[in-house]
Amino acid sequence: MNSQTPLHKVEGMGPSHSGTGHFWHERVTSVALIPLSLWFLYVMLGLAGTSEVTALQFLAHPLNALLMGAFVVFSLWHAYLGLQVVIDDYIHTVGTKIILMLLIRFSVIAVAATCLFAIVRIAAL
């Protein structure tokens, strides 16, 4: 016996209502983060112990600004997906869950926007 409605079956989204989208986005962002984190590490090592002028000049270069922007977007997107799973696993009260999910969503967007704004501002300096 199957309790799924015909519409539910056709949509094929399962109980998550979003199918395998979450899983897939987590993998895609993680693959993108392989080269981006290696680049980030290279930059952090290369800027360690230098002055703000070095950091400014480096990030003012369009390619570096773009890569830093990509690193910020992909890591925060990946963080959002990962934190969602943590809440899904440990929080079982609907109200708390919704509040935490919204809180994480807003925080991630705020942090990403702050980073991107700073990158643009550096480029414009």
Binding site: R27, L33, L47, A48, E52, T54, L76, V111
Partner: protein
């Protein structure tokens, strides 16, 4: 709901998994460490935002960032982020390999867990050693 006739038996039945009395296999350790480092790195994003903003604020901004991060506590936090990034990176690659069907045999999974734990610690130490021995700052 009716009274459960098996309640007596259910109460004495062993429960599983009993996390607090489990002998931790190393795979369990790397699994929860992946989650912990992921959460840590999420907070690290806030420090990254602060760093970028401090650069965009000119010399005073840069100095205010370094005044806090160049303290022993700040360096400990940075070391935590460095180790978390290396660990989450290596174990993340292993997760992708798992998705492709590789690395599941028990012995392989245990061996790889030990390798990843050791490599992540060595990697984080190497990053700090490079900076302290003057091999950092090459973008100057």
């Amino acid at each position: 709901m009716a009274e459960n006739p098996q309640r007596q038996a259910a109460a004495t039945r062993p429960l599983s998994p009993h996390l607090t009395i489990y002998r931790w296999p190393v795979t369990m350790l790397t699994s929860i460490t992946h989650r912990a480092t992921g959460m840590g790195l999420s907070f690290g994003a806030v420090v990254l935002a602060w760093w970028l903003v401090s650069i965009s604020n000119g010399p005073e901004g840069w100095q205010s960032f370094h005044a806090i991060m160049d303290t022993p506590l700040g360096l400990l936090v940075l070391f935590g982020f460095a180790w978390s990034l290396v660990f989450h990176f290596l174990n993340g690659v292993r997760h992708l390999a798992w998705d492709l069907g590789y690395g599941f045999p028990k012995q392989v999974a245990e061996r790889n867990s030990v390798i990843i734990l050791a490599l992540s610690l060595l990697g984080a130490l190497a990053i700090f050693a490079l900076v302290w021995t003057g091999y950092g700052g090459y973008l100057r």
